[in-house]
């Protein structure tokens, strides 16, 4: 195959393709071919029938065409793919004779294909010339620019403050969403509109125009401008305008970015605050003025030299001086102070110098006539002053008079004291001087008027309560502000009296501590309490004996069980001994077992004895789990007889509780029996009985019994714990009320709740560590 010269429309020549005969012409053509081959742009010549006529070297290198593609139709070319799609454009160019452009992609490269008509001399279109311009890098930069523009737009639109870009002549170019929203305008209607025309020309401010020009020129840094503007929707707002120049690389055009910051709320808040603080100041001044004018409190402005700079009427009235006396400088606080109060003044001044204020203290002033007025005094330096201050003075004459009157009226109280069996006393700690009221002598059964001493008192105090008396004396000598005691007297005729004493300390005129107190003889109250406790304990015993009856069958079982072992062992033992030869080892073993069974039987009896014998309460540290286990052991067979399925859940490491074991066991037994009784008619479900001990927060221990019985009506819940209330035909109804009083005497509580399923849960909680007072 040889080359043939082909004239192209624009005078270019390609190479290859058609067989040529003329060798002379070939030389000239080959020069053109070389030129075309140096062009880096792929060029392909296509005939009318879309056959590839020729292409240059770049087409082979870049597009991958091979010489064998010459003479093949575009649609048959597989490398590069997609050439076939250009056939349609080629046919349009051939028909219309007008050049067109098409996109072409190969791999990650993009080309713009210029498709030009190829004409012969007679202008007849013989085919097309395809020129492939590589636009890959260009495309990428356009994509990047579009992406960045979108990002910027998104950022600007999320900015809350309105932003707008102006041209050099202040015409609006574009704004963010906040900008259009604020002014209530659309992007289109404000495009190229001068900023000054915006919002009814509110922004036609000379200084703004000037600053924008200077900023654009780069000769000035924009100083924020405050503009008030009335918006149709939002009313008057105060805006801060700021601006900065924008420049674009490669562009001479300059623009300016203007920001609007709405500071209306901030301004309003500041204004309100200013107004408030002014108002507060005005009010507090008014208060002080009222205080000064009210003349209830004496107010004095003083200096440390001893002068009174000014004083109100109240103070002048207190010390009986006139305003002329004050103005003449005759009234000096140092001179008003009696000598024995100077120390107190010195202490106050020291405090004033150290802290700027002095705490109120009681002292006296001389009046003009030389008499004294008791006062309460407090004060402070003026702010920033180390010499002048203000003092507030309260006249205590009335209070002191009242105190005196109170002391004097003591006589009137005597009869009342006698009625209430209350005696009063005063006790001057330093001098050990004790004064008793008549009634107190009577309570202590001393001769009226006899000198009272601590030693004398101690001869009457019950020996067991002497430590209490000593404790009280220690407290009084330690300067306690007051105290309260209960102790007993043991009188010569062996009568015991219960006394309740309350005392309050106060400092007398001489600054010495004196206690004024009352002592009440509470023996009667105590003995009725004791009687109540006794009645309660009898009641508990009745309840105990009642449950004893209910437990008889259970007890018989408990004792018969080991007895049965004893009988059997003895029989076996005898048989072993009488055998021939006697089985001595076997006999010894059975005898040993007999003894063990005997011990078991006696343990059962001891338990019963503890639970049912009437005796006084014994407070001890006890393990609630152990107490529960003992009760379970006693009542197990009884519960089993009633087909109760017992599920004990006793917590590990339960702390010890303080209390009366027997009483607590009595409550536990009562709750178990109630639970068992509540299930006696239940046949459609297991008679489950959950017995639980657990530790509660705050050092409490809880015991609960959850049954699956008939439950109780929530309306009768409170009645459950009333004495003689019962839902049982054969019950005495005394169990729960007694149980509750037992638990309450352990500082605990007993309550009932309805289960989510059938039945009820009865629980009690008692504190683990307490000074339990059980009655």
């Amino acid at each position: 195959m040889t080359t043939q010269r082909v004239m192209l429309t624009d005078g270019w020549t390609s190479y290859q393709g058609v067989n040529v005969d003329d060798a002379a012409e070939n030389t000239a053509t080959s020069d053109l071919i070389k030129i075309l081959d140096t062009v880096e742009v792929p060029i392909v010549v296509v005939q009318r029938d879309f056959m590839i006529a020729s292409f240059n070297k770049a087409a082979a290198d870049v597009l991958g065409l091979s010489p064998s593609d010459i003479g093949r139709a575009l649609r048959d070319i597989s490398v590069p793919p997609g050439l076939s799609r250009l056939e349609q454009q080629c046919s349009q160019v051939i028909i219309g004779g007008v050049e067109c452009r098409a996109d072409f992609r190969q791999g990650d490269r993009s080309f713009v294909v210029r498709i030009s008509p190829n004409t012969k001399d007679d202008r007849q279109v013989t085919g097309t010339v395809l020129t492939f311009t590589n636009v890959t890098a260009f495309r990428a930069s356009i994509d990047q620019a579009i992406y960045e523009r979108e990002c910027t737009k998104a950022i600007l639109n999320t900015v809350v403050d309105p932003l707008v870009v102006l041209s050099a002549d202040h015409r609006i170019q574009s704004g963010n969403r906040a900008f259009y929203t604020m002014f209530g305008v659309s992007r289109d209607e404000t495009q190229e509109v001068p900023l000054s025309e915006l919002g009814h020309s509110a922004f036609e401010v000379a200084s703004l125009q000037k600053q924008l020009d200077e900023t654009l020129a780069g000769s000035h840094v924009f100083q924020p401008i405050e503009v008030d503007h009335v918006f149709t929707a939002k009313g008057q707002r105060t805006l801060i305008l700021d601006a900065r120049p924008l420049s674009f690389p490669g562009h001479s055009e300059r623009r300016v970015l203007v920001t609007f910051q709405d500071i209306t709320e901030r301004k309003q808040a500041e204004a309100a605050k200013d107004l408030r603080s002014e108002e507060e100041l005005r009010r507090s001044e008014a208060k002080i003025r009222r205080l000064v004018e009210a003349n209830v409190v004496g107010i004095v402005m003083f200096n440390l030299e001893g002068a009174i700079i000014s004083a109100n009427e109240a103070f002048l009235h207190m010390v009986q001086y006139s305003r002329e006396d004050l103005d003449s400088g005759r009234v000096r606080w140092k001179d008003l102070t009696p000598a024995e109060w100077r120390d107190c003044d010195d202490r106050a001044i020291a405090e004033l110098n150290a802290t700027g204020i002095f705490q109120p203290f009681e002292k006296e002033y001389f009046r003009r006539d030389g008499s004294r007025v008791p006062v309460l005094l407090g004060g402070a330096f003026f702010e920033g002053s180390g010499n002048e201050g203000v003092a507030f003075i309260l006249d205590l004459s009335e209070e002191k008079r009242a105190e005196e009157a109170l002391r004097r009226s003591e006589a009137f109280l005597k009869e009342g004291q006698r009625l209430a069996r209350i005696g009063t006393f005063s006790w001057h700690v330093a001098t050990e001087e004790i004064t008793w009221s008549e009634e107190l002598y009577r309570i202590f059964e001393f001769q009226h008027g006899a000198p009272v001493t601590l030693e004398l008192i101690s001869t009457r105090v019950h020996p067991e309560d002497i430590p209490l008396l000593n404790d009280m004396i220690d407290r009084a000598r330690g300067g306690a502000s007051g105290f309260e005691y209960e102790y007993r007297l043991l009188l010569p005729d062996h009568l015991v009296k219960y006394l309740h004493l309350i005392a309050h300390g106060s400092r007398g005129k001489d600054g010495q501590l004196e206690y004024i107190g009352a002592v009440q003889d509470v023996t009667q109250r105590r003995s009725s309490e004791a009687a109540l406790a006794k009645a309660q304990s009898e009641l508990a015993h009745v309840a105990r004996v009642t449950s004893l009856g209910a437990l008889t069958a259970s007890i018989a079982h408990e004792i018969n069980q080991p007895l049965s072992g004893i009988f059997t062992n003895c029989s076996t033992c005898l048989r072993m001994l009488t055998a021939d030869p006697p089985n001595l080892d076997g006999a010894r073993e059975t005898a040993r077992r007999t003894m063990r069974d005997g011990n078991r039987a006696s343990a059962v009896i001891a338990r019963l004895h503890a639970l049912f014998s009437k005796k006084d309460t014994t407070i001890e540290m006890l393990d609630l789990n152990e107490a529960v286990r003992e009760v379970i052991a006693l009542s197990l067979s009884e519960l089993q007889r009633h087909r109760v399925i017992l599920r004990p859940e006793l917590a590990d490491n339960l702390p010890l509780v303080t209390g009366d074991r027997v009483q607590l066991q009595q409550v536990i037994l009562n709750l178990l029996q109630n639970a068992s009784d509540a299930m006696s008619t239940v046949d459609d479900r297991p008679r489950d009985l959950l017995i639980r001990t657990e530790r509660e927060e705050g050092d409490w221990v809880r015991f609960s019994v959850k049954d699956a019985g008939v439950g109780f009506d929530p309306q009768t819940m409170d009645k459950l714990f009333e004495a003689f209330y019962t839902t049982k035909n054969d019950g005495m109804g005394i169990g729960l009320s007694v149980s509750r009083s037992i638990i309450e005497s352990h500082q605990g509580r007993l309550w009932a709740t309805r289960n989510e399923g059938p039945g009820a849960t009865f629980s009690f909680s008692i504190p683990c560590r307490t000074d339990t007072k059980v009655q």
């Binding site: 018989a556 069980q561 049965s564 072992g565 059997t568 072993m576 087909r643």
Partner: protein, 131 residues
Amino acid sequence: MKSCRERSAIERSLVTVVDDDESVRESLPDLLREFGFAAHAFSSAEEFLASDSVGETKCLILDIAMPGMTGLDLQRELKIRAHKIPIIFITAQNDEVVRARAFDQGAAEFLLKPFSDTALFTALNTALGVS
């Protein structure tokens, strides 16, 4: 009675004790062996039912009140399983209702704890049909 001891080991009948009380389980088998029986003890009805002794037991000495399955429950269960083992009930509670039900269900004897060795021996003979 002495003749009992002279029975050969092969002839020895197995008497099984079911009682939740430990002292009964300890003492009764020894006495039964003195009588010449082989003896086993179980602490619950469930344990007994799960053992091989069910098939071999010739006589059952059974407590009434036990946690879980009671003596009467076991009696019914054995009847359902068609084990015709004669049963001597022993109980520490004198409850006429229970006693009547036990005999209704076919108990051989009903002994109240504590019982004498003679009473037990007589009951065993009754149960095993020995005159």
